[in-house]
Symmetry: D2
Subunit: 348 residues, 4 copies
């Protein structure tokens, strides 16, 4: 018996990825697809304008779309809502007893809301007890981070654990799918670069710190951690590239850094989850890698791919990070979060 789940905001770019990754999931079964009023009551196949290469299963194409404020026949919902709608709708589901796995930014920085990357900070789920008490909910709300945050946090986590990360500078080159659909007009991005994705840099700076500091033990938590991010949109469809430079508390050689990535694994219960990639952080030794076109599907889109490690004249090390922004950076992240919740007996 699979766990009945729904997707909120099911027609958008991330919503479609949720549907794709849940369609054949071993533990979950989609029993509801919800969207805005414009789509509600119509068959999902008609309103979704399916844009993924994998075919939309007929059962889901025929499913009548619910409105996001409807009660849904689900024990968990995956939210691809925009922040404003999420702020209002997600608590309704949690209050009614559902487990909400959200890709929205609305509640990520709340003290009693886990900002979860299972391989990095699985214990952040422990706050859920307090969350229920605080909010009088019978359900729960767990968030995944911003796409660029996830890749950076995953690339930094093994280094922070081994050596302590004190400072990191990141410049992102982000794919257009990160802006949703219709999203970026083609006239703005064909052969162009757009600086300063609104609000993105602040999210990265805050969220990476929350995740990494939350994953540290008491001793390590005294190491300062300061991040600075600059963000750019580039004419790439899927895959955010990040140029990273960092300073370590404990000096480390290049081999040590590569080894820290190579050996990095989630806890055993995390590594066993259906969507967990064998290597959460995959280091490529070939020159001029990773590249979105060639590496974005590593680990079925669930790896963070790293390459080009070299010494930084200013800080300690610099390198390139790549991740699939709508899989590991969004829908795949929340599905993995939900798997961890099931594995820990929080959802059944």
């Amino acid at each position: 018996m699979k766990i009945p789940v729904g997707v909120l905001g099911a027609t958008g770019t991330v919503g479609q990825r949720f549907v794709e990754r849940l369609a054949d999931h071993p533990w979950f079964e989609i029993t509801a697809l919800a969207a805005s009023e414009r789509s509600a009551t119509r068959p999902y196949g008609e309103v979704a304008r399916w844009r993924l290469l994998s075919p939309l299963p007929e059962r889901l194409a025929a499913m009548e779309v619910a409105h996001v404020s409807d009660e849904l026949p689900c024990r968990a919902v995956f939210s691809a809502l925009d922040a404003t709608t999420a702020r209002e709708i997600e608590p309704l589901f949690a209050r009614r007893g559902a487990f909400v796995f959200s890709n929205a930014s609305a509640h990520r920085m709340d003290d009693d809301v886990p900002l979860l990357i299972p391989e990095v900070n699985p214990d952040s789920l422990d706050v859920l007890e307090r969350q229920r008490a605080n909010r009088g909910w019978t359900g729960s709300l767990v968030t995944n981070a911003n796409c660029s945050t996830i890749f950076l946090a995953m690339a930094l986590a093994p280094l922070d654990r081994a050596f302590g990360v004190e400072r990191a500078f990141v410049t992102t080159l982000q794919a257009v799918s990160g802006a949703g659909y219709p999203g970026v007009p083609s006239l703005d991005i064909l052969g162009n670069v757009i600086p300063d994705i609104p609000e993105e840099a602040g999210k990265i700076e805050r969220e990476v710190a929350k995740i990494l500091v939350g994953a540290r033990d008491a001793a390590a938590s005294r190491t300062p951690l300061v991040l600075s991010a600059m963000t750019y949109r580039v004419p790439v469809e899927e895959g955010h590239t990040e140029s990273v430079s960092l300073e370590l508390a404990k000096k480390a050689g290049g081999d040590d850094v590569e080894a820290a990535w190579h050996e990095f694994r989630g806890r055993d219960d995390v590594a066993a989850l259906p969507s967990a990639p064998p290597h959460p952080v995959l280091y490529l030794r070939e020159p001029q890698r990773p590249q979105p076109r060639r590496d974005v599907l590593a680990g079925d889109g669930m790896c963070t791919v790293v390459g080009g490690l070299r010494p930084c004249p200013l800080l300690d090390w610099k390198f390139t990070v790549l991740g699939h922004n709508t899989i590991r950076g969004a829908a795949g992240a929340s599905v993995l979060n939900a798997e961890l919740a099931v594995s820990k007996g929080l959802l059944s």
Copy 2:
């Protein structure tokens, strides 16, 4: 009477820009176009596969291409040769008495070779006397910097002059024209980002330091200056974008930084040169600017365009820089260098 000049490597991406910018120049007249053996003795219009939007003048289309090792009827030559060929050919011309303005990297870091940006370090031409003595030349060799270097050096120069720049971090997003023709295969770059342009980061780090330190007065020259660069190729045709973060010796507010850029001018003799843009550094206040598609032709492609100034949590300030890589970053740079040489009476 215009000064007769030639272009070495005239068929390539930068060579064509030299031809374009010299075709109607008030002081120079193209009297020779030289290229490799494959093109020599054939009409330029046939071998160049002209790729610029401005039409190729018929006189030049009909001109018979010389071989780069030929003696040419010119008092100055503009070199768009690759580094290896430049290392061999450029000294031949200088030895024979020609003034060589080179875009090649071969001699840029030589002690007795000016790495000139007229608005920034015009006095670097003073070394030419020593160059002739050292090398026994009757001619001279002046270089322009790497494209990404030029934009970064121009953006930093006003801040270094006013406040002292101690450290700067730059990530470049570079256009494909920077790799010449045929250059980057379309299969490698359509919808993609390629990290680590070979040898580019080192050039930027070394050349910016040579230019800025060379422009400092004795007092300032004690400020340390350390740069760190990471380089990326993006699917843009013309225009390199740079994400910059820097630390200043003397703290400055955002208004001060903007004012330093806004007020920055070359010396009077430089500002009066035919190719000098009115504002060498143009600061755009609109959000999400500069962008290659919209801003790359500012000042007829001779401006360095800056935008998005904001505080950096790690260093002091961060911002975006843009420049036209084959104009200000290559051919336009050497033409401006030549104009300065004329203006100072070194070439006539």
Copy 3:
């Protein structure tokens, strides 16, 4: 004393081109910029999000935007309105006595409305007298054709005049700027081709026939003229490419066809208009031309560029046509129409 003119729909892709081409016009002066309610009463520079490389003049940036239904201080208006709004608004201006030059499709096929290409069917203006009588207007309405129509009609016109065109097949590869702004989402077009631009094929088939048949003399008008069009959107910014094959009433050799294009000129009064290109149809002999990136600005964007003439195994000849869709295919077309109206004394 220039003629005061306004632009309706001034903030859009075509509206901005109108502003660009009228900003320094020798005969016209912009005295009003009108747009939808959302933009009205605000400075044009703030609401337009200027997207062209040429700078927006400060006088126009500061101009307060009017609402399209306002009375405007103009003797002529250029309309970049969408078809639905144009159907309602354009007659209001004509009724009040203004000369309306419209890029909208709303009235193009009306019997008493000129569908004007000055080099091809200048006498279509003669219908204006009947238009005023029919409609009780003191002003007039003149339209330019659909962008793809204009290039095809211009390429066919010299051949129709010389040999008679009986049948033509066209497949268009259209730039994204033709869909306006925000227009085509980047997720739909990056690395993609989209078939069947809605309603486009029918417009081309009908409008080309109206223009060419209208330009024929009595004898020629008995030649049948049938067109078939298929339309595609491609990831190009500016410039529609058309693959054309045609059958002639009177057989002609390739040299004759090339000569017909080469010798084609508008009537003397048309050729003398400020925006008229020296060669309305420019034939390129180089292989693999014309191309949008290299040829779209021929004649300041006002040429129709043709190349690749070769025999067609099915019909007679096939070739490639290119034009600048927002200049010759839209704003530049209506400005040229207005110049003809002035030249004929219809507008002053």
Copy 4:
């Protein structure tokens, strides 16, 4: 026991696709990878610069590359050689007794060489007996057609069988992968369209006729069949789009045409082949389809996808065709050809 096979020209764009599709093939096992002198004797993984998203198996990455003129331990070879090399090398293999499945154009139009599409003209293999007699070979040579030819022939075949195709006009919009690697320079194709792919139109016109006429029965073979092709390169990575208009010998309604496509299947022995897609021709009813980005992987890249059927004012029907140029249009085509040869007992 699988049949040992080799790939000639294994490092190129099509060669890599051969490797990908043979790596896990149920009937074939790669025992040799051959390429030019530059690559020979080195490990395939080092020289191939693997560019496909699917990972290269380690066994093959480690395989030492042979030279294409070496004797190889294979009963069949798949040739991704260029035409000139193929003309010389392929007969060597056939002479030595190997079965050659070639993607090269060198021998396609030879009378005694099958130009095979298994679903369309499976009996073309019957000519092999004569081929051996003619040429004194103990092996055989079978070719697949040009990529654009295959999609057009497959889309026309069901209509030719049911109604007779008399004339067809096609304009292709071809992906850059069709030009191999490095192939099209990015400066030539970013945001551009290039007309007239050299020699492509003639190949399409001749090859489609050879395939379709060869598949007709005696009665049908009297119907004339004339084709006209125009070819364009567009900034798409994988997937050729074709705009087609055709005239039928026996008039047919749109439903009849769609039914002919929908019901089209290869013979039973063909339909059972491992690489045969369930629907060789897939008709999409959704508007604005097929599109490369969304439909190119239909049937694992082995379908020809058709859409947008509508009446043609000049001929009878027009529609859009799409196929994956390096799978169904190249490597996948020859693999399917080889499967048919095995199934018919010609290769074991």
